[in-house]
Amino acid sequence: MSVRVGVVVFPGSNCDRDTAWALGLAGAEPVELWHESADLGGVAAIVLPGGFAYGDYLRAGVIARFSPVMRAVAGFAAAGGLVLGICNGFQVLAEAGLVPGALLRNRGLRFVCREVAIAPERLDTPFTRLVGERRPLRMPVAHGEGAYYADPATLAALERDGRVLFRYVAPDGTPALDPDDRANPNGSLRGIAGVTNAAGNVAGLMPHPERAAEALLGSADGLPILRSLVAAAGERAAGAFVVTGRRVLAGDGGVEGGRR
């Protein structure tokens, strides 16, 4: 039984099909989740894909934040569900306050569309557990508002608590901590390319792992990130099933049975 992973589709999402395809390569059964529906269809994890949700009007991600599906996603995340936001999805998560910080206009003002290298700071998260080692991962970025910003206290807390998930790095793996570093494509503070929430179950990153999921496309370095998510989601779904079974045996009704 494959793991069902939801891919949210907003008006203006344009990486939803690629994301669903790459999740399939990672072993999941992708499920499209329409923005106007609060029904998450019993998925085991959710990905917010890239694009320009609601035209990126006002600020990237802010209008999507108030959609029915995002209210459901917030509840899913609060209950410990795994959520990954990619690019525009990261912007939506940040606007919704589900991950800390904000994504500002790129320091160079240009829309940046090129391959970058990022390195995982941690290998024990649901998003990086199958990456294997701390090495540069090559994958594209494509965004106009990707400069990670958080106030100094938040940055210090992120560093202290190990919540920086990915950093932009030079090809040799040196972190691009300086916003003006050549390997830092957008002026992100501390070279931050991805972060997690405090509980560690919600993550966002600007680069596109789904666009680097097959060697034919130039890099398959993004696939382990998606495989990590699928594996972690599968374990959680199975765990929930076992717990449900015990509760049923103990005569405790009212559990979320039939979880597929």
């Binding site: 006002l58 600020r59 802010v62 108030f66 606007e95 910080g101 904000a102 500002l104 206009r105 790129n106 320091r107 160079g108 003002l109 400069a147 910003y149 958080a150 106030d151 002026g187």
Partner: protein, 107 residues
């Protein structure tokens, strides 16, 4: 916020026109403002600095009175029109009109 037509007592008494000005917070890098600033020498203009580029949103609110309308605008400005992490806002009252639905097109 709105009540059915004809419901006595609670109907909005007036329309109020507002502007919300949103700008980057102090200390937040504003690359647009910097780009504008760097263009000034091309115009032969000197002595202009600290350029900050933001956005202005104008809106009409139907409410019982100005404080009630203002409360709606303050809420929208903080929750939707600005991101308090990176932006600040101020609210201007542009005017009040008696209960007409056309106040929003008066420009």
């Amino acid at each position: 916020m709105s009540t059915p037509e004809g419901a006595p007592g609670a109907r909005p008494a007036a329309s109020f026109r507002f502007a919300v000005n949103v700008t980057p917070r102090e200390g937040i890098l504003d690359p647009q403002g910097r780009a504008v600033e760097q263009s000034l020498p091309h115009l032969g203009v000197a002595g202009v600095g600290h350029v900050r580029v933001g956005r202005r949103v104008e809106l009409t609110v139907d409410a019982a009175d100005l404080p009630a309308a203002r409360a709606v605008v303050d809420h929208l400005a903080a929750a939707l029109l600005s991101n308090p992490l990176i932006e600040q806002f101020d609210v201007e009252v542009l005017g009040a009109a008696s209960s007409t639905a056309t106040a929003g097109v008066a420009r």
